[in-house]
Subunit: 425 residues, 2 copies
C-alpha cells in the first residue's frame, strides 16, 4: 500500500484539528484515497513544548527539514500571517509539494501568484478552509456550479460579527456589551478590528468573487463597512420591519462591472440568510441555471476547519494516485473591471434626529427628491426635547446620489444627528 | 483545441436544459475544461418532430448511432425509466464512454452494478442531478466532507410534497386541494403516487445514505410513509407548537446499524430546514468534524437540473484532459446492516378522538406507561358530541413499543379514532 505523507505548518487550533482528523481517519484512508495517509512532521516555534495528543517526535522548528524531505507530498499551511507563510509555500511548491492552506489573508493578497507558481510546477494548491470554514463553497463553485454564469454571491462569512449581531437581536444587547461577551467566550480576539470592521469578511468575499466570476478580485477592491455603529435601536427598528441585521459580504457581476462590498444589511426574516445565527456561516449564490442556492455550516473551530482542510488533502491524494495534480488550477481567465462604490445601487435605512416642528419632513423629502433619492417608506416617532426620530427607507438608489443627500443633511440645522445608515436588501 | 463530444439521451425538460446550457457556455468551456464542448447527437423517440431551439440534424432515434460513434466521449442519460436506460448506459460504458445521469430510480436500484462496470472500464459515471436537483450534494459528500464520519443526513428532497405542505401551512388548505393546485401548476404529476407516498424521496435518501455512510443502501431498505394523511388540523397544531410539518428523508448511522426512513415530521420553526419552502430542496448533514452543514437550492426544473448535469460533464471533461477518469468511483466499501423500523426510535405526535368522560386520560396514559412509551406533553381540547380531542407528544421511544400502544388503543371503545400519527424532531 502506498503512503502519502503530510507536513503541517503550525500546531495551533486548526493544525491540531488536522492532526487529530488524520489520525481518526487512518483506517478509512486506504479505501478513500487508495493509500495510507500519515503526518510526517509538524512545524512549530518551539519543539520542546509538549502538545496534547501529538507525538513529540513529529515536531520540528526547522522548515528545511520538511522542505528537504522528499517523502513529504503535501504541505498543510495553517500557521497564518502573510510573509513567512508565502515564503514557505513558494519554496514547497518549487520542490514539487502540493499545498493546502486555510490562510485567507494570504490567498486574498497573493493567491494569483501562488496559483500561477503551482500551475507551472504541476502542483495543487487548495484552500477550501480559507473561506467560510467548514462549508464546502470553493469546490462547489469551481466544479458543481461551473456550468453557470454566476451573477451574485452573498454571505455571512464572519462568525464573530454574526455572534455579536445575534446577541444584539435576541437579547437586546448593545454592540459594546455583545463584543465584550464574544471576547470572554473566545469568539472575538483581543484586537477585534479585523472582524468588526469587516476586513476578515472582505478577504473572504474577494476570494469567493474571484472564483464565482472567473476574474481576479483582491481585498483592495472590496468596499468595507463594519458593525461598530449598529445600535440596539437599529435592531429594534429592523424587528418592527420583520427584518434582521446581518453583516454581509456581497459581490455582484453586473453589466457595468463587479460590485464587491462588505456592510451590515437589513434582510427580511424569511430570507434563508436571516436564520443563520450565532457563529454559523452561510453563502448564498445566484446563477443563471442553478437559480438560488445556499450553503450553511460552521465558519470556524478546530474540527470544522480541519474538515475542510481534510477534504482538500483527500482531493490532492486522489490526484497523486491518478497522476493528475493541477487538474483544477486558477479559474480566473477574465478581466472584469471593478465598479466604484459611488456607482453601486442600494436601498438605505436612514435614522435621523430632527427638529420636531412643521416643515421638517417636507425639507428632508425635498433634499432627497433633489438628489434623485426615491423614498420607499417613512416612519416618524416623536421624542422629548423637541426632537423627533425620523426613519427613511429609500428606493434602490445610486450611492453617489445618497452621499449628496447626506452632505446636504449635514449642513442643515434642523437635522441634529444622522444616527444610522444601513443598507437594505 | 481539443473537442469533447456529448450525446444526450432524451430531449424532455432536462435534456433540453442541458442542450441550452452547453450552447450558452460554449465560449467559456475552452477556459474551464481546456477543450471545446459540443453536443453531437440527441436521442429522441421521433426525430421528425421539430424541437424548439434544437438543430434538427442533431436528432436521432437510433441509439446505435451514438454507441458506434467513437468521437462521442460522454453520454448524458436524461430519458428516465429503468430497463432501457440501464441497457443503454451499460452498452455505452462497455464502449468506453463516460456517463452522466439524472436518473434516481436507476441509481437507487442498479447504481452499484453500474459503478462497478464503469470502474472496470475506466469510465466515470456521475449523477449529481439524481438527488436534490441543482443542489451540490453528491460531490460535497464524496470530496469536501470525505474526512468525516457522517452520522446523519436528512433532507427535504421532494419538491412536490414540499409545495403541498407549504400551501397547507401558509394558506390553511387541505391536502386534496393543495395536491390539485400542484397538479394544475405542473408541480405534481397526473399520478402523484411516487411523490406523495414518499417513494421519490426514498430513492434519493437511499442514494445519499450510501454515499454518506460508505455502504450500500437501496430503496428496498427505506421505510416510507407519505403525506396523504396530513390534515389542515395537524398543521394548525404544529403552528401552536411553533413547528412546521415537512416530509423528510432521514438516514442515521447508529452503533446498531443504519436507520433510513421517509416520513412527515414536525420540526421547530427555527430549524434551518423549516424555512425551506415551496419547491426548494435542502439537505442537512451532521459529521464528527464538520458538525452541522446544510445545502439548499432548487430540487427540479429545466435549468437547475441541467446545472447539476453540466457540473458532472465539466468534471468528466477535466478528467479526460488529465487522463484520470474513474478518479472517484464507488465509495461503498463497508457493509453496515440496516435496522428494522421496529428498532428505530422516534418522538411521536398522536391526535386521538376519545370519549369525553372522567378516566379516559388515565386509561390512555396507563396504556402508554405499560408499553414503555414516555409522555412529553398532552394537549386536550373538548369537542361536541361527548368527544374530546386528545393530543399526546411522546418522548423518544422505540417504534415497536409505540405500535404496541396503538394496537391496544384500537381495541378500546373509549378511543373513537386515531386521527394522526406524526413523528417529531
Amino acid at each position: 500500500m502506498d503512503k502519502i505523507k503530510v507536513a503541517i505548518l503550525g500546531a495551533g487550533t486548526v493544525g491540531t484539528g488536522v492532526y487529530k482528523l488524520i489520525e481518526r481517519q487512518k483506517t478509512e484512508m486506504p479505501h478513500k484515497i487508495g493509500a495510507e495517509l500519515e503526518v510526517a512532521k509538524i512545524l512549530v516555534r518551539n519543539k520542546n513544548v509538549a502538545r496534547d495528543g501529538i507525538d513529540n517526535s513529529l515536531l520540528t522548528d526547522d522548515f528545511d527539514e520538511i522542505l528537504n524531505d522528499d517523502s513529504i507530498d503535501i504541505v498543510v499551511e495553517v500557521m497564518g500571517g502573510i510573509d513567512v507563510a508565502n515564503d514557505y509555500i513558494k519554496r514547497a511548491i518549487e520542490k514539487g509539494k502540493h499545498i493546502v492552506t486555510a490562510n485567507k489573508d494570504l490567498m486574498a493578497s497573493n493567491g494569483s501568484e501562488l496559483m500561477d507558481l503551482a500551475g507551472k510546477n504541476g502542483c495543487d494548491i487548495l484552500f477550501e478552509a480559507a473561506v467560510a470554514g467548514a462549508i464546502p463553497i470553493i469546490r462547489p463553485l469551481k466544479q458543481c456550479l461551473a456550468g453557470n454564469y454566476i451573477s451574485e454571491i452573498m454571505g455571512i462569512v464572519n462568525g464573530t460579527t454574526n455572534f455579536i449581531l445575534t446577541k444584539m437581536t435576541n437579547e437586546g444587547m448593545e454592540f459594546e456589551d455583545a463584543l465584550k461577551m464574544a471576547q470572554e467566550l473566545g469568539y472575538a480576539e483581543a484586537d477585534p478590528t479585523s472582524d468588526i470592521e469587516g476586513y476578515d469578511a472582505g478577504r473572504k468575499i474577494a476570494i469567493m468573487a474571484s472564483i464565482a466570476f472567473n476574474t481576479r478580485v483582491t481585498f483592495d477592491d472590496v468596499y468595507t463597512e463594519g458593525i461598530t455603529k449598529i445600535t440596539a435601536k437599529d435592531i429594534k427598528y429592523a424587528k418592527e420591519m420583520d427584518s434582521v441585521i446581518k453583516l454581509l459580504g456581497v459581490a455582484k457581476n453586473t453589466k457595468d462591472g463587479i460590485e464587491v462590498k462588505v456592510h451590515p444589511m437589513l434582510i427580511p426574516s424569511n430570507h434563508p440568510l436571516a436564520t443563520v445565527n450565532d457563529s454559523f456561516n452561510a453563502v448564498f449564490v445566484h446563477g443563471d441555471a442553478v437559480d438560488d442556492a445556499m450553503f450553511m455550516g460552521r465558519g470556524a473551530g478546530e474540527l470544522p476547519t480541519a474538515s475542510a482542510v481534510m477534504g482538500d488533502i483527500i482531493d490532492i491524494a486522489r490526484n497523486i494516485n491518478y497522476g493528475c495534480n493541477g487538474r483544477i488550477g486558477c479559474t480566473c481567465y477574465k478581466n472584469i473591471p471593478i465598479k466604484n462604490i459611488d456607482d453601486c445601487e442600494s436601498k438605505y435605512f436612514m435614522r435621523l434626529q430632527v427638529e420636531d416642528r412643521p416643515g421638517t419632513l417636507a425639507s428632508v423629502a425635498s433634499v432627497l427628491g433633489n438628489t434623485d433619492v426615491g423614498i420607499d417608506r417613512v416612519i416618524q416617532k416623536t421624542k422629548k426635547n423637541n426632537t423627533a426620530e425620523l426613519v427613511v427607507i429609500t428606493d434602490s438608489v445610486l450611492e453617489k446620489n445618497f452621499k449628496d443627500a447626506l452632505a446636504i443633511f449635514k449642513g442643515m440645522a434642523m437635522i441634529k444627528e444622522i444616527s444610522s445608515i444601513i443598507r437594505v436588501y
